[in-house]
Every structure is written in C-alpha cells, then in structure tokens.
C-alpha cells in the first residue's frame, strides 16, 4: 500500500531519529520479557525443588517461644493413624573448622529416620544410627557443600572436624539436594538429636517431619496431627502443620507477586516509550508542516495525512516491539548463561508486550497525526 511505503520512506530518511523514537519501546518490551522470564524462571525453580522434596511429607513446626515441645511430645504424633515415620529435629547455626578452614553452616539434630522421611541419599559413609542418639555421640553427617568446603575433593568419612570448638567424627556425606526457598540444602551438618540439643542448648523440638503412608490421605492425617498438637501444645498460634503443597503455593504466590511487579514496572517504561513516540511525532509534524501543506494543496485529504502519520507511528512502535522481543530473549539467555538461574519464556507475555507496543504506537500516534491532518493548507504552505 502506498501510504505504508510513504511512511517507511520517511522513517528511513530519519534513521537516527527513528531509532531514538523506537528506543523507549525497545527498552520497554525487552525489559518486560527479561523480567517476566526471570520471575517465572525462579517460580519454576522453586516449584521443582519443593516438588522434589516429596508430596507425602508434612512439616510440623513449633514456633511459639514460651511453649515446650519435647522429643516425647513428638513421639505422640507418631501414634496418629496413617503415619509411616517421623523425624523430630532441632536446628541452629554452628561454626565448623577443619585445619585452617572455617565455615558457618546450619546444624540439624535429628534421628535415624530423617534420611527416609526427607528422602535423602548418602554419597558416602553412613547416616546417624539410633545408637548415636542414645550415646550422645559426637558424630556428624555433612551436606555436600559443607563437605566440599572443608575437604575439597577428598573423602571426609573417618576424618574429624571441630564443631563449635569440639571435635566430631564425620561418618557420612549426603548427596546434593539443591537450594530451596533461598536456603541451601547442602550447606548443612547433621548430628544425632541428643547431640544437636546440646549444641543448640535447648531440648525443645523445632520442626518435626512426618511421612504419611498414603499421599491421598495427607489432608486427613494433617488435620489429625493438628488436633494432637492442639492437645499437647494448647495454643493454636504456636504451631503449624503444613504440606509441601502448602509451601509450594506460598512460594509461587510470592513469586507471582514479584513477576507482576517486575512486569508492571517494565510496562510503565513501555508507556514512557509511547510518550517518547508522541513527542517525536509532534516534532515531526511541526517540522513537516510545509510538506503537509504541499500534500494538501495537491489534493491529499485529511484522512490521507492522518493515515500517513498514524502508519508511521505504528511502524515505528511495531519495529521497536520486534527488536525489543529479540533483545529481551537474547538478554534473558545471557542472564541464564552468566548466573546459571532458570528462566522461563512466556509466549503470551511476548505477544502481549508486542501488541501493547503496537497499541502504544496507535494511542500516542493519534494525537500528532490528528494535529497534522487538521492543518490548514494555506497556513501550512506559508510555514517556513
């Protein structure tokens, strides 16, 4: 179509200005795509990790500071129908030392069932045994990161390390589980429950992991545990029983909010880009007043001029949109390669931001185009 050709011609005639006009849209569209890709990538990440922890595990946490919940109390949970195994834990942070290497890691004191309940694998050595708990043994199982920090590539099993200054013997190393919800699952040290209570200087059980027999009955078991906990602790605000599914939902809702906020701020930059288009188009209208006058004298109707400027705006913004999508995908790709984080492209978001940029072109192009089309031919011809 002829009007399209004219619009393209005038864009090509002003390459630098056209590029600057598009820049706002390019930045807007590409940042929408990058932000959403990163946001959705991290949502996917978290969901994968939480999912890998098993959907048949319940977490019973005691949060109230003035309530007591001892090992014996935790054992009462075990009596609830439909439970296969429980693993009571105490936790804290400890300083590890091997030779000259110091590191702070999270300490978990627990029983032998922890391995099975959390579905963990040993890389080498053995896990904590019931006997270790009874004997308050100073033995430890290391998370894979902890092992690597302290021993590098060497085998830690049989070696001894200092935990808060006391010597412990390493009996095993866990396989990596990855990080979840911002905390690394591999920078850990696991000790017998009784030993852990001493290290954390409390006999209170913080979190108890519960493995249910049948995944389908997890909601029933959960409510039964609730009532047991209520009878033990009393105060309903001091404990919580949650499934991995609950955690997953919380995590993804947090992530969705984040994605929305990132996408929203990027969308605002798209609007700013639109204002840029309007600004440049207005400049272009007054710069080309004479041209408009000539065209009108020669027989251009209002709608011819309107269409010419509108098409110019739309072509500019859709070019900007296409380039923006391209740059967005490339930068998201660079981001994953550099940081190693997961990204997830969303085709609807790409289409949406492209359509949005087109819309921005139309909306912000209409005003200048209308202004151009209304120019009086005589006045416009006289304009220098």
């Amino acid at each position: 179509m002829q009007t399209l050709k004219m619009a393209l011609k005038s864009i090509i005639a002003n390459k630098i200005r056209a590029f600057l006009t598009m820049l706002g849209i390019i930045i807007g569209v590409s940042s929408v795509i990058v932000m959403v890709a990163i946001g959705q990538g991290s949502t996917k990440d978290v969901q994968d990790q939480i999912g890998s922890l098993g959907t048949n595990v319940l977490t019973v946490s005691v949060t109230g500071s003035d309530v007591t919940f001892k090992e014996g109390d935790a054992d009462q949970i075990k009596d609830v129908n439909g439970i296969e195994e429980i693993a009571p834990t105490v936790s804290g942070r400890v300083t590890l030392k091997k030779g000259k290497t110091n590191t702070q890691v999270s300490m978990i004191g627990t029983t032998s069932s922890y391995l099975k309940v959390r579905d963990l694998q040993l890389q080498s050595g053995r896990f904590i045994a019931d006997l270790d708990h009874e004997n308050h043994s100073k033995i430890a199982v290391l998370g894979s990161d902890t092992a690597q920090t302290l021993f590098g590539l060497g085998d830690p099993v049989g070696e001894s390390i200092k935990v808060n200054g006391t010597s412990y013997k390493v009996v095993g190393v866990l396989e990596s589980v990855g990080s979840s919800l911002g905390t690394s699952g591999d920078s850990t040290i696991i000790v017998p429950l009784s030993t852990g209570q001493r290290l954390a200087s409390t006999t209170n059980i913080g979190t108890t992991y519960v493995k249910v027999e049948n995944e389908n009955s997890i909601n029933f078991v959960s409510s039964r545990i609730e009532s047991t906990m209520n009878s033990i602790v009393g105060d309903a605000d001091s404990y919580s029983v949650s499934s991995q599914k609950d955690l997953m939902e919380t995590a993804s809702s947090v992530n969705e909010t984040m994605t929305l906020m990132l996408g929203g701020s990027a969308a605002i930059s798209l609007i700013v880009g639109g204002i840029g288009i309007m600004n440049i188009m207005l400049v272009s209208v007054s710069e080309r007043t004479k041209e408009i006058g000539i065209r009108k004298a020669i027989g251009a109707k209002r709608k011819n001029i309107l269409l010419q400027f509108l098409i110019e705006a739309v072509v500019l913004s859709s070019f900007g949109g296409i380039i923006g999508v391209g740059i967005g995908v490339v930068s998201a790709q660079i981001y994953t390669v550099v940081t190693g984080s997961t990204i997830a492209y969303s085709i609807p978001v790409m289409l949406l931001s492209f359509v949005f940029s087109l819309l921005v072109g139309v909306v912000f192009g209409v005003f200048p185009a209308n202004k151009a089309s209304k120019l009086d031919p005589i006045q416009a011809l006289r304009y220098e």
Binding site: K290, E291, I294, R295, A297, I298, G299, P377, L381
Partner: protein
C-alpha cells in the same frame, strides 16, 4: 461570436481578513470569467490581493461571499474533502518557491498528485516520467530537489502540476525566484502547454511576464480592472500603479 464555455466563473467574490480587531478587505467584489484554453495573467502590486485571489481560484480557501463555478461545479458549498478532490483533479499548482518535497526525488514529487488520485504504481511512474519528459527533465528523474537548479526545480513543479492532466494550471509568481534567462524558459514551457490546451492562470507583479499572456487582468487594492486602463511603472520606488481613465 464563438461560444467557448467559461471554465471559471467568479461573481462578486469578497474576502476579508481580520487581524486584531482590524478587518482588511483583500478582495472587494471581484468578478471574472475565464474561458477554456485561455492564457490569462493577473498582475498587481504587492498587497493588492493576488495571492488571496489565487487561493480562491485554487480552492485552497473559501471566499466570504460571491459565487464560484469551476468546470460547471459550484464550489461554494463544498466540503473540505470535496475541495481536496477538486484541487487534485482540476488544478495544477505552480508556486513561486517551487514547493517540492525535499526528501522525495523529482519523479516521486511528480507522482504525488497521482497517489492521491489512487493511480496504480506502474501507471503512475509512467505518467510521471512522461510529464518530466515534457519539461525536458527525463534524465533528472531520480535527483533530489537539492541536486537541481532553481529552474530545474520549477520545471519539476510544472511537471507535477500537469502530470494529472488538470484542465487548469495555476501559477503564482512562477518566475519570481528565477533569473531572467531561466524565467524565459519557464514561460516558454507554459506557452507551449497553453498551445496544448491547458488553461493557464499566471499571477505576477512583473509586467514583462504578464505580457506573455493573451489576456491581462489587473488587480489593485482588492479590485480587478481589465481593458482601457493604463499601466505605469513608477521608476522611483519600483512599484507599479494603476490609473483608471
């Protein structure tokens, strides 16, 4: 009497401008008939209303009162878009300062009126090139206006004016920006176009230019005078004055 029908009939046309409470009567009841195939020049000093009159004839502006028939169509009540169509089909404009679009090549400039007429690309290019041929500029078709001399630019403008074969060519000071030799070339082209059947209206303040036409009409202070007046060039201040009998 030969009955050549008039292509332009203007009766009692008036136009006034208002500027800050003051009204200027730029046209004070002007009447003029122009026959098909005429070569008429309208001559008058600066501020006499030439450009105002040309805007009326060219349908670029509307008079405050009076009647205007162009090629048997009443112009008075037409909408803006209809006026645009009239300008496109009936009138070829030639301006003092050429008014070419600087970013378009010669042939693209000539194509412009044909674009707004909705002509197909191939036919349009052929027609535009034929028009450039007529003014002897076929070899400069792909030059930009900035790469052409003033006379060549005006010839491109003439090609643009005649490309769509409008019955009327309307020229406002077409030689005003050109030297005398180039002016002669341009006038020669216009003469030959007139011989080919175009009705030509030439607006000028230069008596030598005006004399090229077969009919000379004088405009002074918003009024037209024809036949039987005398025209003097006032040597002292360079302006011409009309003294009626």
């Amino acid at each position: 009497m030969t009955m050549i029908e008039p292509i332009i009939q203007i009766k009692n046309m008036e136009k006034m401008y208002e500027l800050g409470g003051e009204t200027v009567m730029a046209l004070k009841g002007v009447s003029l008939d122009i026959k098909k195939g005429d070569f008429i020049s309208i001559i008058g000093p600066s501020g006499s209303g030439k450009s105002t009159f040309m805007n009326m004839i060219g349908c670029l502006d509307r008079p405050d009162s009076g009647e205007y028939m162009l090629d048997n169509e009443k112009i008075g009540k037409m909408k803006r878009s209809q006026l645009a169509t009239i300008r496109n089909e009936k009138i070829g404009f030639i301006f003092q300062n050429f008014n070419l679009i600087s970013k378009l090549t010669a042939v693209e400039n000539v194509e412009l009126p044909l674009i707004y007429r909705g002509m197909k690309a191939v036919e349009r290019r052929e027609t535009a090139l034929a028009a450039l041929e007529k003014v002897g500029l076929a070899d400069r078709a792909n030059h930009l206006p900035s790469q052409l001399s003033g006379g060549q630019q005006q010839r491109v403008a003439i090609a643009r004016a005649l490309a769509g074969h409008p019955p009327i060519l309307l020229a406002d000071e077409p030689t005003g920006a050109l030297d005398s030799k180039t002016s002669k070339d341009i006038l020669a082209i216009m003469k030959s176009l007139n011989e080919q059947g175009h009705t030509i209206i030439l607006i000028t303040h230069d008596l030598d230019v005006a004399k090229q036409a077969s009919r000379v009409v004088r405009i002074h202070d918003g009024q037209l005078y024809e036949n039987g007046g005398e025209w003097f060039a006032d040597a002292q201040n360079g302006t011409e004055k009309y003294y009626s009998k």
